[in-house]
């Protein structure tokens, strides 16, 4: 891994310019609010500056790991709050963009099926399918070995396929517990 190169304001500005959009998109895929996504991205980079000595050369998985933890912390701190708002399918359609192309039946089926998976299954599918990380990079975000991530992806894909074959009319499973097993 080696010692990090000079981690000065110039390095940080370049990192911010290169990865900001990725962080906002990460937020958009998980939050119901564009402003919240932008704020999440800012918080990620605040952490990155504080921990600049620890940011790996290939920084994106590390930054996604920070974003994931920030979201988890946010949820933990608010879990007793009655006004915690879930993203609904309607929210997702609103976020899908202006073209309207993503509101097809197939896309809605995928969203519905995804929403019926557990957190770990959803997250590895999003990391690989939307953030376009490799399995090895997704493992770094999730804090597991590459082999474990490969198995989890395999399992998640199978469950997604099962959930899609169950549509339509299947009721969404009620949230039960937040579990991030061995999440670092």
């Amino acid at each position: 891994m080696g010692p990090p190169k000079k981690r000065d304001e110039g390095w940080f500005t370049s990192l911010y310019a290169a990865e900001y959009e990725h962080m906002v998109r990460y937020g958009l895929r998980r939050l119901a609010d564009r402003d919240a996504s932008a704020e999440l991205a800012q918080e990620v980079f605040v952490v990155a500056w504080r921990r600049r000595a620890e940011v790996p050369e290939r920084s994106l998985p590390w930054l996604y790991g920070v974003a994931r933890r920030l979201l988890a912390n946010q949820w933990r701190s608010r879990r007793a709050a009655p006004d915690l708002l879930p993203i609904t399918d309607v929210d997702l359609e609103r976020l899908a963009g202006s073209s309207g192309a993503d509101t097809s039946v197939g896309v809605a089926d995928i969203w519905t099926a995804l929403a019926n998976l557990n957190d770990l299954d959803q997250e590895i599918l999003r990391l690989v399918g939307w953030e376009e990380l490799t399995v090895s990079e997704a493992a770094k975000v999730l804090g597991c070995t590459g082999a474990t991530a490969a198995v989890r992806l395999h399992r998640a894909r199978r469950r997604l396929a099962e959930a899609m074959s169950d549509r339509p009319g299947q009721t969404r499973r009620s949230p039960v517990l937040m579990t991030i097993r061995e999440d670092l």
């Binding site: 940080f12 911010y16 310019a17 998109r25 958009l28 895929r29 998980r30 939050l31 609010d33 402003d35 919240a36 704020e39 999440l40 918080e43 605040v46 952490v47 500056w49 620890e54 790996p56 790991g65 933890r69 946010q74 608010r78 915690l84 879930p86 993203i87 609904t88 976020l95 899908a96 197939g106 995928i110 995804l114 929403a115 019926n116 557990n118 957190d119 999003r126 399995v135 493992a139 804090g143 070995t145 590459g146 082999a147 474990t148 490969a150 198995v151 992806l153 395999h154 399992r155 894909r157 997604l160 969404r172 499973r173 949230p175 039960v176 517990l177 937040m178 579990t179 061995e182 670092l184």
Partner: protein, 336 residues
């Protein structure tokens, strides 16, 4: 049947951010640096800046309690797995033997007695910046043959050094395959190329840990009950106790409080003296969840009240689904 690329092909059109236009940042890098420096440390503690509320997808909160994953073996459907040596033969796991196997008594009175008599652990006299945990795990996930009858999982060893702000290192090594029954071992030995791949590397993968807020567990019963999610029952509480001891160095008062909280959770049975998979003497409680055909097992150190190990078993047939053995817990200033 499809790998990472096909996952992208399938999910890509459903990407909520696919067509989203992301504008330039509203704050400059310099402003973020100023913000970070202003909030970094105040008198040795990070000041938590209140942030705007963010909301999470309901789906991210959903997970089946105690579910143990099974899936089909790697074959052509696992292109994400690099070329790796085939699995070597490994152990067949047998359940931990209980002192009170049949008709075990309720655990409440025994747990309260244990809470009253526990002593300091070695780490109660240590100090350091990092919480250190050395654990061995098996069963997350378990792989299952196409016919659903044969199971295998690789044991793994994890060492975590984590400071109060969440930073540190995690080193993980994949170990040997282990099987819940002899038939599974025989099957996977026969399967050759179809059996799951192992990394087979002795070198641990080291991950620098990103920061996160870690709040030391409270010894206040009401807060501990919430932390351990006792409202969801003994199965959920068992899982949370495992998480608690796997993440924190739990002080004596909190260990005693954990035992007293568990004593009040309906369903735990006292299994008496046991020997865990690391060969240590312990005392055990179990919770049988007949609805989900599984049993949760917690093994405590009879002197210190520390959690030594936890396991999940299926009941019909009796078979190990997963286990975790906490081999060492300490405070340290050195990160490995």
């Amino acid at each position: 049947m499809f790998g990472a690329e096909r996952t992208r092909t399938l999910l890509g059109p459903a990407d909520p951010a696919r067509h989203a236009v992301v504008g330039p940042p509203l704050v400059s890098a310099r402003e973020l640096i100023d913000r970070a420096d202003a909030t970094e440390t105040v008198a040795g503690r990070r000041r938590v800046r209140p942030t705007r509320r963010v909301v999470l997808a309901a789906g991210t909160l959903a997970v089946a309690v105690g579910a143990v994953a099974v899936l089909q073996p790697f074959g052509e459907g696992a292109p994400d797995t690099p070329d790796e040596p085939a699995a070597a033969a490994g152990l067949v796991l047998v359940p931990v033997a209980y002192q009170f196997d049949a008709d075990p008594p309720a655990a409440g009175p025994q747990l309260r007695m244990l809470a009253d008599k526990i002593k300091d652990a070695a780490y109660d006299h240590q100090s350091g910046r990092y919480m250190y945990h050395h654990s061995k795990l098996w069963g997350d996930p378990v792989m299952t043959s196409a016919d659903g009858r044969h199971h295998v999982a690789f044991a793994s060893e994890t060492k975590v050094w984590q400071a109060a702000d969440g930073t540190g290192n995690q080193a993980s090594s994949q170990l040997e395959p282990q099987y819940p029954d002899q038939e599974s071992r025989d099957y996977w030995e026969r399967e050759g190329s179809a059996r799951p791949a192992a990394t087979g590397t002795p070198a641990p993968s080291v991950i620098p840990l990103p920061p996160r807020e870690l709040r030391p567990p409270s010894a206040v019963p009401s807060e501990l009950r919430e932390l351990l999610k006792v409202e969801y029952g003994a199965g959920a509480a068992s899982k949370e106790v495992s998480t608690l001891y796997g993440r924190y160095v739990v002080p004596r008062a909190t260990r005693a409080a954990v035992l007293r909280v568990l004593a009040d959770v309906p369903g735990f049975r006292w299994r008496g003296q046991v020997t865990d998979r690391a060969g240590r003497h312990g005392v055990a409680v179990t919770f049988e969840d007949r609805e989900h055909d599984q049993q949760s097992l917690l093994i405590f150190d009879p002197k210190t009240g520390e959690l030594l190990a936890d396991e999940l078993l299926t009941l019909s047939p009796v078979r190990i689904s997963s286990y975790k053995v906490i081999l060492d817990t300490a405070w340290t200033d050195r990160v490995g």
